[in-house]
């Protein structure tokens, strides 16, 4: 049973990690806590739902398709909402408030279009088969989740560490003005990062929608709370931290529900969050950066 529980935790952790990646990337590079992020999660799920239902795409096509569409939506929303603020160099609080208002608007619009009824992928989209090895059970959709998360995390790490684009992104994250003086096209990088973040959120939405087979507009709103916990545990803007914290939270929650009591499952994550903020505000895996004059 312990192995199965660890596997359960690993799976929910993989989704937390994937969700938090885009969220923390947005914060790290763009310097805003973008509350519309949860909306991208829902958008991805809905795009994939319609792509499979009406365009009859297989899920392996619908997943990247939904990610790309969501990425484009994210770029447009970011340009409209935060572009003017960025040009005016408005304080962080204004961008937080703007995204908060936009989130409420976007969810209401989505609910008006799709209602809050739960939808599901057509049964033919993904075969619900499962493997069983010595009592350990894993379904095909769970394998898809783990493999996709591994590919995305690997790809993102490669992009950020090994490419010129990654260097530019990191430079912007470190110091936007200095990077621009060195010839980095800040506007372009902002759009690329918005696109990547939106695509990551969208992909996470598709995978969650697929695994639990329940899609509705507010699904992103529920993930946002967990997403916050994960990026704070991992350290705001810390990519590696977000991945590790995602897995940590998933496993911890599962073990709590499995061996202590399911009623305190959610409390554990937030207890950890508060403790982190008290004792290690840079995040569990972050390094304290010494600011020198």
């Amino acid at each position: 049973m312990l192995v199965q529980q660890l596997l359960n935790g690993l799976l929910s952790g993989a989704v937390y990690a994937l969700f938090a990646l885009g969220f923390t990337l947005m914060f790290g590079v763009l310097g805003v806590i973008n509350l519309t992020y949860g909306f991208y999660f829902s958008t991805g799920a809905f795009v994939a739902l319609y792509a499979t239902q009406y365009l009859h795409m297989p899920i392996f096509v619908a997943l990247p398709f939904a990610a790309v569409i969501t990425g484009i939506v994210a770029v447009i929303i970011d340009d409209l909402l935060l572009g003017p603020l960025r040009r005016a160099k408005a304080p962080e609080l204004s961008s937080l408030m703007v995204t908060l208002g936009a989130t409420l608007l976007l969810y209401s619009l989505m609910t008006a279009c799709f209602t809050t009824d739960i939808r599901r992928f057509p049964p033919a989209v993904f075969n619900g088969g499962a493997f069983e090895i010595e009592g350990l059970r894993i379904t095909l959709s769970q394998i898809l989740i783990v493999v996709t998360v591994a590919i995305i995390v690997g790809g993102l790490a490669y992009l950020l560490q090994r490419t010129k684009l990654g260097l530019a992104i990191r430079a912007i994250a470190e110091n936007g003005d200095a990077a621009q003086l060195m010839g980095v096209n800040a506007g372009g990088i902002v759009r690329i990062v918005s696109f990547i973040s939106g695509a990551l959120g969208g992909a996470a939405g598709v995978l969650i929608g697929l695994n639990y087979n329940a899609i509705q507009p507010y699904m992103g709103e529920m993930m946002m709370l967990k997403g916050f916990a994960v990026i704070i545990l991992g350290g705001l803007g810390d990519i590696r931290g977000a991945v590790l914290a995602g897995f940590l939270l998933g496993i911890l929650e599962t073990l709590t529900a499995g061996y202590v009591a399911s009623s305190i499952k959610d409390a554990v994550g937030f207890l950890l969050l508060v403790l982190t903020l008290w004792f290690r505000p840079v995040g569990l895996f972050g390094r304290v950066v010494a600011k020198r004059a």
């Binding site: 049973m1 073990l255 499995g258 399911s262």
Partner: protein
């Protein structure tokens, strides 16, 4: 206001038509009141109830009405609003002098409007109010709908006797008053029936991941999982149960929250085998029910639901009471209601001394199969 006036005009017109349609009954109609949600977002319940009343009313009047006169219903709309329900009851008692009121639709409307009728000593009969404590409002408050506390024990007893369920795990949503009260009922019924509970697990109504709880439950080998949840979480549990590879014989036994065809739509074949209890089921084979379903379809062009069926039976119960009372007098009708015995589409019916339904033999246990509910064989 305009809508209200038009509505009254409409009922007045309906009245007129009715007295012409029943030429044998010359006397002025006996008018009772009905307070339901006829407009607004929850009006599907009120309209189904109105359809049930109207269908039964037609039949009562075809068979000679009551007290030598046709029976008629004066409808008032609450729009799902408690204050409007109170005003509607006041209006019916004060200006229409009705000797009895049907409704309101929701339990919380009854908690607001019931005391008004009770204070004026006018019997008020809820057909869809299932919350605890409705009839405790006072001696003039009746209900014909079975509370969940009466349905769940029947479901669990059937599971024990027919399916050999001896030990179960229980899961319930602990952040919602409805699923929590469903759990309290289940816990009491399980103890009473001597079914062993090997684990009690909770979840949040908005959770999507139930694998930790279910992995724990699977290791304990229960015969069934008893679940108090709304559709969303309930479907998630069914899907996770399938993903974890529970043996097919381990069914989910649900409360009223899972008595919804939607779980078959969301969970697909993972919902197969789920059983729930229901005061009424469209596929109940007895001739009275089948006749009701056919005539309802013919009149309204749609399938009746539980609310329409409960309303349909209730109108006959009320008509019987008025006949037995011998006069359109609230006090006499109240006493007569307590003595009514009749068999309707929901099975045999009588009131307890506390004015709740006395008989649970009409409860049917239904099973999800291929995405649809059917009678448990």
């Amino acid at each position: 206001m305009i809508a209200r006036r038009q509505f009254n005009l409409l009922t007045a017109a309906a009245f007129g038509a009715l007295s012409f349609a029943a030429p044998g009954l010359a006397a002025d109609p006996v008018t009772i009141g009905a307070v339901e949600i006829l407009t607004g977002p929850n009006n599907k319940y009120g309209l189904a109830i109105k359809n049930g009343f109207d269908l039964a009313l037609e039949e009562v009047n075809k068979a000679g009405g009551v007290l030598g006169a046709p029976l008629s219903i004066a409808y008032e709309d609450t729009a799902g609003n408690k204050d409007q329900a109170i005003n509607a009851v006041r209006n019916l008692i004060g200006t229409k002098n009705v000797p009895l009121i049907l409704g309101p639709t929701l339990s919380n409307e009854m908690f607001a409007a019931g005391p008004v009728a009770n204070q004026r000593k006018i019997p008020i009969v809820g057909t869809s109010t299932t919350a605890n404590g409705i009839t405790a409002i006072g001696p003039y408050v009746f209900r014909t709908s079975l509370p969940e506390a009466d349905v769940v024990p029947v479901t669990l007893k059937t599971a024990r006797d027919k399916l050999g369920v001896k030990k179960v795990a229980v899961m319930y949503g602990n952040d919602d008053a409805f699923t929590k009260s469903g759990y309290d009922v289940m816990k009491a019924a399980l103890e009473k029936l001597g079914i062993e509970t090997v684990a009690t697990e909770t979840f949040g109504g908005k959770d999507t991941d139930f694998s930790a709880q279910l992995t724990k439950i699977k290791a304990l080998n229960p015969d069934a999982i008893v679940v108090s949840a709304l559709v969303e979480a309930g479907s998630g549990i069914l899907l996770a149960k399938k993903a974890l590879g529970f043996p097919a014989k381990v069914r989910v036994i649900g409360g009223n929250g899972l008595n919804a065809p939607k779980i078959g739509e969301i969970a697909g074949d993972a919902a197969d085998g789920t059983i729930v209890g229901s005061p009424w089921f469209i596929g109940k084979p007895d001739p009275a029910n089948q006749r009701f379903v056919t005539t309802y379809k013919a009149k309204y062009g749609a399938d009746p639901d539980q609310f329409a069926a409960q309303a349909y039976d209730t109108l006959f119960i009320v008509a019987d009471a008025i006949k037995a009372a011998g006069a359109a007098d609230p006090e006499k009708i109240k006493d007569a209601l307590g003595k009514v015995k009749r068999t309707g589409v929901l099975g045999s019916f009588a009131f307890t001394a506390d004015r709740d339904p006395a008989d649970t033999t009409g409860v049917v246990v239904i099973e999800m199969k291929d995405g649809r509910f059917g009678l448990l064989p």
